[in-house]
């Protein structure tokens, strides 16, 4: 039976997330201004308190499906801006735990590991990756060279799972993955990336210069399978974009309300002001994207999370979420007018933050390609 209601447990968890979000807002400007400073792993305000995620576990069975309540919590956390608890979402660790040998899991599985894919010349196209691994037959070590950029969580991580090209076999240089821990010889940290927005989002660049790692660090991860994690993370990132978008929508409505402006849903266009009309359409876009995210997560629960069943829906949710974050952030600033440009308010910051959500974890173009190929029955070769 179709149902759009939250359970009492859902409401309780989200209420906690919202309360934490109010704390997050208080720290937002500081970490925007101090981008080289990593936010604490846990903020003192919540040190001894259960997190929404703890509450989710506690109330398991009383909530909407786990994937659904999880994505809603992520949305609220993103709404809250600075995370009060550092997320343990290191994709590198996830992959090690999933593809590593028992020995590798024992050694690395508890460590925070980012995943390092992107290079200056390879963004949405991993086939353009140029970082290389060569085996030193004398020592049995692997020698890595290359530059990795935009590596999420690397500042706070113990290292990264690094994707490189191995020695040629039949003219093809296969992808290989290595755990590179901080302190490895030849690993040069370049520090936090200077970004337009989401500056509290730990993002680092690094260089591998004859960086030597033992054979033990080679993880036998299937690249294609690895990519399946995106099916789950794309709607998640879409929801994060919606969190920022809703922060702006709420801010905009609150400012209008101070001036007596109320958004009414009864009249049609002819009876609306220009600003009411825009705001209403932005809300519609927000809801369209949110419902697409929820549908995708509902499907993920039904059809499986790691089998690629929701590849198309994940791309659909991400496309709409990215578009909503872009449009809503641009339009809210216009509605708010020039005052919103000032750093006295967080609106300008959220405008900068919001722009990432149609870029990372698959730009709209990449996701539209995925949807179009499915819709038209084309291969990646036939439509690119």
């Amino acid at each position: 039976m179709v149902d759009f209601s939250l359970t009492e447990a859902d409401e309780k968890i989200l209420e906690l997330a919202r309360q934490e979000g109010q704390i997050g807002h208080r720290h937002a400007r500081y970490y925007d201004k101090h981008e080289d400073e990593l936010a604490p792993a846990i903020f003192p305000e919540v040190k001894d308190k259960p997190s929404p995620h703890d509450l989710m576990k506690e109330l398991a069975g009383q909530t909407s499906a786990p994937a659904i309540i999880e994505v809603l919590v992520h949305l609220e956390e993103s709404y809250g801006d600075v995370r009060l608890r550092r997320a343990r979402t290191g994709l590198g660790r996830m992959i090690v735990n999933y593809a590593g040998t028992p020995e590798q899991v024992a050694r690395f599985g508890h460590k925070e590991l980012s995943i390092a894919l992107t290079e200056p010349g390879a963004g949405s196209d991993p086939s353009a990756i140029r970082a290389s691994a060569v085996r030193d037959e004398k020592t049995g070590e692997w020698v890595l060279n290359g530059e990795k950029i935009y590596c999420s969580g690397f500042g706070g991580a113990a290292g990264a799972l690094v994707l490189v090209r191995g020695p040629a076999r039949d003219g093809i240089r296969p992808f290989m993955a290595f755990v590179v821990e901080k302190g490895a010889p030849g690993l040069k940290l370049l520090g936090q990336v200077k970004k337009m927005g989401i500056r509290s989002w730990d993002t680092e660049d690094f260089v591998l210069q004859d960086c030597r790692v033992p054979e033990f660090n080679r993880i036998d991860a299937d690249f294609k399978k690895t990519m399946i994690v995106f099916n789950g993370t794309r709607p998640m990132v879409a929801a994060m974009g919606l969190g920022v978008a809703r922060a702006l929508l709420d801010f905009t409505r609150a400012r209008l309300a101070e001036d007596g402006g109320v958004l009414r849903y009864e009249p049609g266009t002819p009876a609306r002001s220009a600003i009411e009309d825009r705001l209403l359409r932005l809300e519609a876009l927000y809801d369209a994207a949110l419902l697409s995210v929820l549908r995708c997560k509902w499907l993920e629960e039904r059809d499986g999370r790691t089998n690629g069943a929701t590849k198309v829906e994940a791309s659909m949710a991400k496309t709409l979420g990215g578009k909503a974050a872009r449009r809503i952030s641009q339009a809210c600033l216009e509605i708010l007018g020039p005052q919103a440009l000032s750093e006295e308010f967080l609106a300008e910051k959220w405008f900068r933050d919001a722009r990432i959500f149609d870029i990372f974890e698959g730009a709209g173009e990449i996701n539209r390609l995925i949807v179009a190929r499915w819709l038209l029955g084309y291969s990646a070769k036939e439509l690119n």
Partner: protein, 361 residues
Amino acid sequence: MISFELTEEQRVAQATIGEFARTELRPVAQAIDREAQIGTATLAALWSTEIIQAQAADDTAGGRSPVMNALLLEELASADATLALAMAASMAFVQAVADQGSAAQRGALLPLFSGGAFQAAAVLLMEPGFRFDVTRLAARAERAGTDYVLRGSKSLVPLAADCSHFLVIAAGDGAPDAFIVPREAAGVIVGEAPGTLGLRGLRLANVSFHDVKVPADMRLGDHNGCDVQRLIDSARTGIAAILTGMSRGILDYCVPYTKERVVHGTPLARKQVIAFRLADMHIEIEAMRWMTWRAAWELETGRKATRSAQLAYTYAAEQAVSIADEAVQAFGGHGFVRAHPIEMWYRNARSLSLLEGIAGV
């Protein structure tokens, strides 16, 4: 608990009506548009689906379900929006009486919709004039003793000439109210159908009310009056469902065409610009559907659906016009000639997306 799961009953009904729409309705859609007339055989076929009759069913039977109605209107509209709206217009009337009518009103009117032939009726909200808005009604009902006197004009009434009854939304002393008026009542004048941009089979016409006497017990809900906003919310949700179905029909027609049509050596569908537009269509149609479902679910569970219905309607209106427009563009000259249904869909999309008050879920 959030869920997008349809019940077994819903899935069966969806499939059955979908198949009916594809085989019975789609083949006659262009002829109906051309002739500006729905044939009696088609009306009989529509009636035989028993969707309208189900709206009159007793509450306890569970026959009246906005979510189910939204699903079925989408299916009907995927074949033809005109026919979906012919159904939705009568549905809106029956639903209003069934949900908000007094016992006497239900007893008197609902049996009219259990016969063997298509029974048209309509909710009348829109009014002539270029700055009409649902919050600015000019039609007025004034107390005259125990009765009301109704004055004003209503526009774009589907199958107006065939309707047995109208439910007329009019301003009163306080909030607007709805009045049940037989077409034959003195002072009711059904205008000539002037012809319209789209939805031509509905012969949309003005109906004017010249000092029409309405007995007090023909005020919907009698002493209690009714919740007019709920009628509007239901109508917006109905239009959203129809726009969703129509858009899906358009996309389904575009996919094979763009794959077959070769331009400069490549199928159109392999041009990135065309492929992205088709992908966007699909993405938006899905979002339109979830928004419609949510509004319908709120209506079904007795929640206030004003916000969800407005957003579903506004979003679907914008997207459907854009989808029909991009379909015309993908077809080029073939999108502009009446040999293909594309141009009809473009007219229907623009028309549908302006309508208020005349569909119901």
